[in-house]
């Protein structure tokens, strides 16, 4: 018995060693191609966002390779799981860079992971593309070795505040997730809405993963807002929409930031007539993109994040092709000079390598589907 247990112990540890030992050969086998890496939250609390991001990568790789690849060679994007955790994300990023030889690494969703990822990649001298974190705290002077295809929250907040004021809303309730995105959007929107002459009457930063938000929603309703501004995804978006409907709060208009994301999982009868802002339907490629997504995955956009990942991959490929080199500085210089038409609209970088312009679209839910207005 003792021997067997020792053997199984040895086997378990030996397994890891063999895996590490064998791998480099297998990985370098895809010779000749250009490798990017993506670190996405494939497990854990944000796994459904990670899945949507992954789809954007898949579509972009197909498109780039169909159009001749990168530097005339096929592009491969290796996707790793961050488990929504900085340390796991760094393990993955280090592996992508030093084992797989990734030239560009994109990621993540939460800024608590994106920032350490960016720092680590800067130290490695590898280009990082921010494709999922929009917290205004991410802006860094000069931009370092990174660039961003996602407009930071101040852009979206100003657009939304303006849209609400033009509809005549003055007292807004705000419902956002209690994470880095919600935190930053909350501050930016309150600022923008105040400048536009409105007032935020109550804020609900909800904790993700609850099975009900009834009580929180009722507290918000007591402040008698004339519009509910919200942003939610997946499970929480479905529950919040349903419970607000059941509590009779849908008599007041609802406005969703990233409307597709807010409504894609929600019961159809609870979202009819909702207003919102959207990004995925703008660029010249967007009709094609929307069709490709629906065809491949058999459903409409789950969120806006697939579009950002698509753009991250496609724009990185375009920058490398323009630079005719994978040298990080050359790639960054090329990215800065690009005026890229992506699935989320035209992308142009500012002096900090942040997305300088992002066009948003006003949208509404009609017969259960998000349509531009």
């Amino acid at each position: 018995m003792a021997i067997i247990t020792r053997r199984s112990f040895l086997a378990t540890t030996a397994f890891g060693a063999t895996a590490v030992g064998l791998m480099p050969k297998a990985l370098f086998a895809q010779e000749g191609g250009v490798v990017f890496g993506a670190v996405l939250p494939l497990t854990g609390a944000s796994a459904s966002i990670g899945e949507d991001q992954r789809r954007g990568v898949e579509l972009a790789v197909e498109k780039v390779n169909a159009e001749g690849g990168v530097l005339g060679k096929p592009l491969k994007v290796i996707i790793e799981d961050s488990a929504s955790n900085a340390q796991t994300a760094l393990n993955a990023a280090k592996k992508l860079v030093s084992v797989d030889g990734a030239k560009v690494v994109m990621g993540e969703y939460s800024s608590g992971v994106t920032v350490p990822l960016r720092e680590a990649l800067a130290r490695e001298g590898v280009v990082h593309v921010n494709c999922g974190s929009s917290s205004v705290k991410l802006r860094q002077p000069g931009g370092g070795k990174a660039f961003s295809v996602i407009g930071l929250d101040d852009l979206m907040a100003r657009f939304t505040a303006k849209a609400l004021r033009e509809k005549g809303f003055a007292k807004s309730a705000v419902i956002l997730p209690n994470n880095a995105y919600g935190e930053s959007m909350n501050v930016e929107f309150a600022k923008a809405f105040k400048e536009a002459g409105g007032e935020v009457v109550q804020t609900l930063l909800y904790t993700e993963g609850q099975s009900s938000y009834r009580r929180e929603l009722q507290q918000v309703a007591r402040f008698q807002p004339d519009v509910y501004l919200y942003s939610a995804y997946g499970q929480e978006a479905a529950i919040i929409n349903r419970e607000a409907f059941e509590l009779g709060q849908k008599q007041t208009p609802w406005f969703g930031i990233y409307l597709t994301m807010c409504t894609s999982d929600a019961p159809k009868e609870t979202i009819e007539g909702q207003l919102g802002s959207e990004v995925n339907f703008i660029g010249p490629d967007s009709a094609w993109y929307q069709e490709a997504y629906t065809k491949k995955y058999g459903e409409g956009f789950r969120s806006a994040f697939n579009g950002y990942l698509y753009d991250a991959v496609a724009m990185s490929a375009a920058a490398i092709n323009k630079a005719n080199s994978t040298d990080p500085d050359a790639v960054l210089a090329a990215a800065r000079s690009l005026e890229f038409d992506g699935a989320t609209g035209p992308i142009k970088l500012d002096g900090d390598n942040e997305r300088a312009v992002q066009e948003y679209l006003r949208a509404t839910v009609k017969d259960g589907a998000v349509v531009p207005v």
Binding site: S8, G16, R54, S111, G112
Partner: protein, 298 residues
Amino acid sequence: MSDFLLHIAIIAAIYGIVSISLNLQAGVSGMMNFGQIAFFGIGGYAAAITASAGYSALAGVLVGVVVAAAAGAVIGRLGRNLDAEYWAIATLGIAEIFRIVLINEGWATGGAGGIGSPVQLFPMLEGRSQLLAVLALAVACMLVCLAVAGRLTERQFGRMMRLLREQPDLSVSFGHDIVACKVRAMAIGAAIAALGGALSTYYIAYISPGDLLPFGTFLIWTMVIIGGIGNHWGAVLGAFVVQFIFVGALFLKDVLGFPSELAGALRMMIVGILLLTFLMTRPEGAIPERLRKINAQD
């Protein structure tokens, strides 16, 4: 490739430190602390906050260690009457309260997005030599913790703690001050965990509430159990084995050619299966605790 291995070794050494800290509390004195990640977090946040305020790494580590030790002592005292399972869930709850406070008090902690550390451990070095220096520091810290924990365990204090674990009533009848003993074990363990947290923050240059989920504590427990609960060298080995399993799963998914939509889930499954296999076939851990006769000192 070698940079990758260096990185893995640094993370494993940091976890080794945290694993020793839990082993001192759980393994030697039998306290089911399921909130260890919070002490790691205290160290990490102390590092990031002091660094943002312009203080050196040494100051950050000191602040973290002192605050964590104090918090550990308070929690040890509050929980003096609790049974193991209650103690486990209570500490889990306290760690969650701590995390919720971190998320909501953004003025000090950076909120849900976390906070960076502008201070680097070896700013004068670059690239591989920096990694090597960090690794040397982490391993040195780990060895010091190992020595401290070992000394504590070998002495009268360790005998008391083990007696406390095995025969609490007998321990009382010997006239040992159980509460003081628990409080000390908690405080020292917390301080060691905070050291690990601070090192991690300086190395990664960032810490966020997402790093302090209960899963983090579960992971530390897994290291202690796999290594051999009660044995400090075992705890260190456990940290390396777990890190190895995580990295192994990273490559195994490539070898097996998992489609990317399943890669994340299957990686977690591999980790789970390996842990379960380990627990079922070798529950005493890789290096079981050796109980020897120790002559009383003092």
